[in-house]
């Protein structure tokens, strides 16, 4: 059996653009912003990068397919670049490609970049897209909030909760993320909200109100990864390493089989079990210091606390209301504001999460710095509860 990715690759530099409604920027600007920060952080020359992975989801939204947008924006010296796409796990997929290449010994230093420019459609929410030639003929014309809202009704029914009870916990999630985002200068949304404001917001897709939904943002984030020996020579003895990177896509069970309860994400459970094993973590509630999870909607974060084994089944509502995942709690979740407030430029999000964990592990997270974090977990859920790709990554310092 393979021994996994643990400690085989180091992150030597990271960058993240300001997220938000970047009417001022084109994808080239966002990518450059993230890259210049990362290369300065790593202290290397651009020519030392031997390969790149480039994550973009909505290729229709003016970035374009293939390798050359990244190669062109950064004027890379014709090194190999691979464009990757895996829904909202796209950014993490870019990182996984770069990490695997370095671990395989195919190159010493690799770049993972993710970006998305969503705010050029003329309307709020995500751009419209087709589902292909067959599925469009029968699948519902859903939106992201409508597809994730399904979790709310199903979760409440499964655990016999009154919807108002569930909504209060969901509101707490959004409240907490706004509190965290308010002190993060790169976050899209830097305002605070009261629980009442969140609960009183107009309904988007029952039971989700507008403040149960994350920001739709423009942005870019990137990582430069290298073999640990190189990391040591470049940045010294203390550097961040990859402890685990796992991915679990749906195989159709949620769409077509009655065994799924509609109130959880099967894929997150699978991916996180494997990631904990790969990282050698037997008690995640003890060892995971912080999480950056796919809080596209408040209900998603709530369900994920159980799917990541951080709450017992049916207990997430109580753990959330008890503050376990607040900035001051046991396992802070979205200390940077999360998708909710930092924003969600799809292709960049996995790398944005990694960026925050990287800063926290190195003690560079300014006003939001947590006390001596051990392991940070990043989680993406691409797609919708009915069919998705879950990515779970764990990072920590080199041993």
């Amino acid at each position: 059996m393979a021994d996994g990715i643990k400690d085989k690759v180091a992150i030597i530099g990271m960058g993240c653009s300001k997220f938000g409604e970047r009417w001022d920027a084109r994808p080239e600007d966002l990518v450059t912003e993230a890259f210049e920060e990362a290369i300065a952080d790593a202290g290397i020359e651009k020519d030392q990068i031997e390969a790149g992975w480039f994550g973009v989801f909505f290729d229709e939204q003016n970035v374009g397919k293939s390798a050359y947008p990244l190669s062109q924006y950064l004027r890379l010296p014709n090194i190999p670049v691979t464009r990757v796409e895996n829904l909202c796990a796209t950014g993490t997929e870019a990182l996984r490609g770069a990490v695997y290449a370095v671990a395989a010994g195919a190159c010493d230093i690799a770049l993972a970049m993710g970006t998305e420019k969503l705010k050029d459609t003329g309307f709020s929410g995500l751009p419209e897209r087709t589902k292909g030639t067959f599925e469009d003929l029968y699948q519902p014309g859903f939106t992201a909030p409508g597809a994730f809202a399904q979790l709310g009704a199903a979760y409440a029914a499964k655990h016999q909760l009154d919807m108002s009870e569930l909504k209060r916990a969901m509101a707490h999630i959004s409240w907490k993320s706004h509190e965290n985002g308010a002190i993060n200068p790169k976050a899209h949304l830097q305002s605070r909200l009261t629980i009442e404001q969140i609960l009183d917001a107009p309904t988007i897709a029952y039971p989700l109100g507008v403040f149960d939904c994350c920001g739709v943002s423009d942005g870019a984030a990137c990582a430069i990864v290298a073999r640990p020996e190189i990391a040591k020579s470049l940045v010294g003895d203390n550097y961040v390493t990859v402890k685990a990177m796992q991915l679990a896509p749906s195989n159709g069970v949620e769409m077509g089989h009655q065994s799924w309860d509609g109130a959880s994400t099967i894929t997150t459970r699978r991916a996180s079990q494997r990631a904990y094993a790969e990282a050698g973590i037997s008690d995640p509630r003890k060892d995971i210091s912080m999480t950056e999870v796919h809080d596209c909607f408040s209900i998603t974060e709530l369900v994920l606390m159980e799917d990541l084994w951080l709450s017992d089944d049916g207990r997430a509502v109580h753990d959330i209301l008890d503050g376990r995942f607040d900035a001051s709690g046991d396992i802070p979740c979205q200390i940077d504001g999360g998708l909710k407030c930092f924003g969600h430029p799809i292709g960049a999000s996995g790398l944005r999460m990694t960026y925050e964990i990287y800063l926290q592990l190195l003690g560079r997270a300014a006003d939001r710095q947590l006390k001596s974090p051990k392991f940070g977990l990043a989680h993406n859920l691409g797609g919708i509860p009915n069919r998705n790709v879950a990515a779970v990554s764990i990072f920590g310092m080199n041993d």
Partner: protein
């Protein structure tokens, strides 16, 4: 008594009907005379229903499953508002009903006698098994009289030889190019002429020309008819015939104005279904007429077995279940009389990959999924490998029909962001009795009505409209499970 005639009958009326007083409230300022009609309700199709979907629903309300239709039977679809001018509408319905592929399907159109044409032909030739569906969703100009008089609905009859419920005895027709109203692609809606002229010169003179010889040939007089059906939009026309035909006054069939309205080409048969459900007795004579550029008249005799027949869902039950709508603009939007601003999300391109739609037509229109031979799991769509995580067998799936299955709502939302012509957009996971889970659209639930565990049944509806190319496509939606 062995004979040729009707062996099954059923109707379909949409769940909702508009209060005519609401029409008057909205447009009375412009057409004060409409007050004369401002009582009762008129049925109307939801935005995602048309003559095709209503015909499918009517056929599915018949007592027996249409898939048992004889391989050499005929299926005829009669309508003046069939959605496609050149694409056989009957075949869409036949596919949705999973009729044997060798059933001869055809459309009849061209006027208010459309639905009687196949009946006349069947009567004259005692043809073999025939499934006849008639439906209309009449386009009406806002504030027109026809908006008050019309209703949307469909009827289905099954005919054959043997022990019939109602025998087709004889028929007679006259044609006369009297333009009481007309509709062309250019007019869009009916253009109607003076009502009294139609009554006196049209109905009053033409109907007797067909009916009297028919009665005489069969040794009958007007007074022998227990039920007389004349389906013109103006309900006073039939009364003008009482004297001319020597009818009993109480033989005039209920025009169904109060709850439904005039359902166009389907209406003579709609009135017949109502008679058969509520009043007809063995041995009675029934005259069904169709009026439009002449007259078709069919003489029927009620058999002994009628009382034993039960449609899956009766017209009476559907009428009782109608939900009265008072919002005129909501009706107008559903009827296509007004185009609201649905926002940029409505601009998404909905071009249909016809190669796929044809290749998967049984899956999509027939709602046929797969059932694994190895583990028995029902699934949609049919796939190469079984979806059961404990099975996964390759190429083991037999065709499995979902259209006649009920289910329960496993998850849902009311989505106010997604584009639909009837917000909120309803969709979610449905767990089917007998197995299978489908993430699908729903219809017919009011906001706040859907719950986890709600019982649903399937109905054939319009899925998406491709406004750019004038095309639309159909699929099935989960609707509230209704009483039989």
């Amino acid at each position: 008594m062995l004979s040729y005639g009707i062996t099954e009958f059923a109707a379909y009326v949409p769940m909702q009907a508009l209060q005519r007083a609401s029409i008057f409230d909205a447009v009375g300022w412009a057409q004060g005379g409409l007050k004369a009609y401002a009582r009762g309700t008129r049925s109307y199709a939801a935005w995602d229903e048309d003559a095709i979907t209503m015909a499918v629903a009517a056929c599915r309300n018949l007592a027996s499953d249409s898939t048992n239709l004889a391989a050499q039977a005929q299926f005829c679809f009669a309508s003046t508002t069939a959605p496609f001018l050149d694409r056989q509408n009957a075949t869409v319905i036949a596919t949705a009903l999973n009729l044997p592929q060798t059933v001869h399907s055809y459309d009849v159109a061209g006027g208010q006698r459309a639905a009687l044409a196949p009946l006349m032909t069947a009567c004259r030739h005692a043809a073999g098994d025939l499934l006849l569906a008639a439906a209309d969703k009449r386009p009406c100009k806002p504030a027109s009289v026809m908006e008050m008089l019309s209703g949307d609905g469909a009827v289905a009859l099954r005919l054959g030889a043997g022990e019939c419920l109602v025998e087709l005895v004889d028929c007679e027709a006259v044609h006369a190019d009297m333009v009481d109203h007309y509709r062309t692609a250019a007019t869009g809606a009916d253009y109607i002429f003076e009502d009294r002229w139609v009554r006196d010169e049209g109905v009053g003179k033409l109907v007797p020309q067909a009916v009297l010889p028919l009665l005489e040939r069969n040794g009958l007089k007007g007074g022998d008819l227990s039920h007389f059906i004349l389906a013109t939009p103006n309900t006073s026309h039939a009364r003008a015939l009482v004297k001319a035909l020597g009818l009993h006054k109480d033989a005039l069939a209920d025009p169904l104005f109060d709850a439904i309205g005039h359902t166009g080409a389907a209406h003579p048969l709609m009135m017949l279904v109502h008679i058969l459900e509520t009043k007809a007795e063995p041995g009675q004579w029934i005259m069904v007429t169709g009026f439009g550029q002449g007259v078709d008249a069919v003489l029927l005799r009620v058999g002994d077995k009628l009382a034993a027949y039960k449609a899956r869902r009766s017209l009476g039950q559907q009428t009782a279940d109608i939900q009265a709508e008072t919002n005129y603009l909501k009706y107008l939007s559903a009827a296509g009389g007004i185009e609201l601003d649905w926002g940029m999300r409505a601009e998404r391109d909905n071009r249909t990959a016809q190669t796929v739609a044809y290749n998967k037509s049984q899956d999509l229109y027939g709602f046929v999924g797969g059932q694994c031979r190895d583990c028995g799991t029902a699934q949609y769509p049919k796939s190469r490998r079984c979806v059961n995580p404990n099975c996964g067998a390759l190429d083991t799936q037999e065709p499995y029909h979902f259209s006649n299955k009920t289910g329960k709502v496993k998850s849902f939302t009311e989505d106010w962001l997604a584009f639909t012509r009837s917000p909120p957009h309803l969709y979610g996971n449905i767990s089917f009795e007998g197995g299978g889970n489908i993430f699908m659209e729903m219809a017919g639930f009011a906001p706040g009505e859907l719950e986890i565990g709600s019982d649903v049944e399937m109905q054939f509806r319009i899925k998406d409209i491709d406004t750019q190319r004038g095309f639309h496509r159909y699929f099935w939606k989960a609707i509230p499970k209704r009483r039989d």
